[in-house]
Symmetry: C2
Subunit: 409 residues, 2 copies
């Protein structure tokens, strides 16, 4: 291999749209797994859930008061209350076995089963009590203050659909249906391979020209946000056999592999060649800023993402491509997960035609301000930012005053 | 105690604003704890972080190419390139010890330390290679394609402020600063006491008039969303000594106690009296729908929230009051954590003056539609909804077409 080839720059770059389309085309939901309802918040439901019973399973009171035959109260008013003899009490879980007959009522608590014969509940506030007699001071209609059987969920109804990202209230409903475990899409295991002779673990003593690994804590947070779980290993030195071994082990252990560092085209950038040798390097070099030396390949049909070693570039490549694969495998929408807003620009954004830019922005005075930085790969630009804007390849930027979409960190 | 007092309805109800103000007034950040950076995503920073060193700690290359003295290239062009003799190589973590003199250059990789004498990097794309000589085909300015020492973070700068909710990129920055552990606000431990003779654990076999516990999985998800961790115990039967014991144990073990069920004023509603006896029942009965029988108290200065046993009402009371306390203790903003949007109503919302309503809504055709339900406490109204709107006590509702704020689930 000649020096010119060993260190040559990218000959051409793939568009962000093509790279994104490749991810969408090749990545699918993982299989289902059964987990406890208690762990299921935020997970994607794997199958439709059909109610096997009515909820509530019996007519119950929606108020504290007295269960009555509604027609007994039709002529009741404050000046001429209807006296009813109290013949029992119904409490939650402890039904009253005595049926309600004309002239009678049963004391009832919220949530308690409605006794036989009764068809309405009079709230305690609309009664006067005289010993064993309850005087009803207003008329009530049949069904009033009663939760009918099946009112919330009718037996046989499809309650939640496959793909639903489970919310707190969904778990309550599933529990009401008698479920303790539920079938959800498995969380993708995402192996992160950090390469680089200069990289030491976060917190380790740094000597000479070493730098701490900033990628692992950063990318881990994003993987967990997207519904994946991270697998980490030791930091790998820039030697062909070590990087190859780390990638192969990761492919065997994980659903998705991220390789950070050594992703470009220099002679010491080992990852692209290894991915090509072990499988397929589908895309290498993307028309974007930052993180143009990113790549996407497949080994044993598992996606492998090459992230630049610079933490901001790694973050950007994760956000555009790898995160999309994680979300998709986890059964979520693959689109950006950030809250979006539209707001006018306080200052123009310049961008090169043919290149997609990931621009960190601040929001001040209800306007969007791009963060001025000397280099594209300054990580603190993303800590000072409130969010980011994407300038697509076909735009040369946006003028001051243009309304743009900002996604919030 | 007379029957009238034992089952009387609320004599008066506190406003939602007063209840909210009480929470804000009495609840404070918890103390700090040190945790691994890898676990710190989403946590609230307890102290300002100041940089103890420059990042980067040395001038380094932003490109693959050649480190040069910029002035050597000032007259270079494609037709008259400047030949420079390659005298060494600088790789990340492996500096080139040979300084660059006039007429010389050093091959350099992205991230590698800039050798002495050099002040710019020429990207490989703008060179031609002839054996040991690199011909530069364009002029370069001092500093070009070089990340200066301290360019990202200058030593002594305050990088992140106390209270900051840590994002992925913040963890990268902290790691770059050499941190492996970080001081964050401790997560509040939230004990959930489920009471009710009729309640059985989720998934347990239900007989007679029993119902499964839908509150635990629901509230657990919300507690974790808000940065707390849940402590659960066995379901407690409606007996004074059992409920008292469960509340006391929870107060001793947790930072916040939630008691679900038995929160109203009936003779079998034990929780309010127990909280009053063990500490202070500050608020009982709130002018809202659902969950008017909610309450707030303090035992040993720890907040205790009484949630109605109905799952939707429990959710509502959690969201308005308890969640606010959890977020505040965890060092977060105490305001609603949901994404907000403003949109016109497709159909009017009616509400009673003097009562705050929590209205589940759907969004269709870019309009907001309240979910029509027969009862206020139907949990599936919250699964069918996209979000909710709050109608404050001073409004009798909103007419069709009014633009209202919706918070998304």
């Amino acid at each position: 291999m000649s020096d010119d080839v060993r260190m040559r720059g990218f000959l051409s770059r793939t568009s962000v749209e093509e790279a994104t389309a490749l991810v969408d085309q090749r990545v699918r939901w993982l299989e289902a797994e059964w987990i406890s309802l208690l762990e299921a918040g935020g997970r994607a439901l794997a199958h439709d859930v059909t109610a096997l019973a009515d909820v509530p399973a019996f007519a119950r009171s929606a108020m504290d008061g007295f269960a009555v035959m509604a027609e007994e109260t039709f002529s009741a008013c404050a000046d001429d209350p209807r006296p009813l003899t109290i013949v029992g009490e119904s409490r939650p879980g402890r039904a009253c076995e005595t049926p309600v007959a004309p002239g009678q009522c049963v004391r009832i608590m919220t949530g308690a089963p409605l006794p036989a014969g009764a068809d309405a509940v009079v709230p305690v506030e609309q009664t006067r009590r005289e010993g064993d007699v309850c005087c009803v001071t207003a008329p009530f209609a049949p069904g009033q203050h009663v939760s009918a059987r099946g009112e919330d969920i009718a037996k046989g109804a499809v309650v939640l659909r496959a793909g639903r990202r489970l919310r707190a209230q969904d778990l309550g409903v599933l529990s009401s249906l008698g479920r303790a475990r539920i079938s959800v899409i498995r969380r993708p295991a995402v192996a992160l391979v950090i390469t680089g002779d200069e990289v030491v673990p976060a917190g380790a003593r740094v000597t000479g020209y070493q730098i701490p690994d900033a990628v692992t804590p950063l990318v881990r947070t994003l993987i967990e946000r997207d519904g994946g779980r991270i697998l980490t290993g030791p930091i790998v030195r820039d030697q062909e056999e070590l990087v190859r071994e780390a990638i192969q082990v990761s492919v065997n252990a994980a659903d998705i592999v991220l390789v950070a560092g050594g992703s470009s085209v220099g002679q010491h950038d080992l990852a692209p060649g290894i991915v090509r040798a072990l499988g397929e390097l589908s895309i290498h070099g993307i028309a974007m800023r930052p993180s143009s030396p990113a790549g996407i390949g497949f080994i044993q049909d598992k996606p492998v993402f090459l992230l630049p070693g610079n933490p901001l570039s790694a973050m950007c490549a994760y956000e555009f491509f790898a995160g999309r694969a994680v979300r998709c495998m986890a059964g979520r929408h693959n689109d950006w997960p950030h809250t979006k807003m539209r707001m006018p620009l306080g200052q123009k954004i310049s961008s090169m035609l043919g290149r997609t830019d990931y621009v960190r922005v601040r929001i001040e005075d209800e306007r969007v301000w791009p963060i001025a930085i000397s280099g594209a790969s300054i990580l603190t630009s993303a800590t000072r930012a409130h969010g980011f804007a994407i300038v697509p390849a076909e735009a040369e930027g946006y003028p001051e005053g243009a309304t743009i979409t900002v996604r919030l960190y």
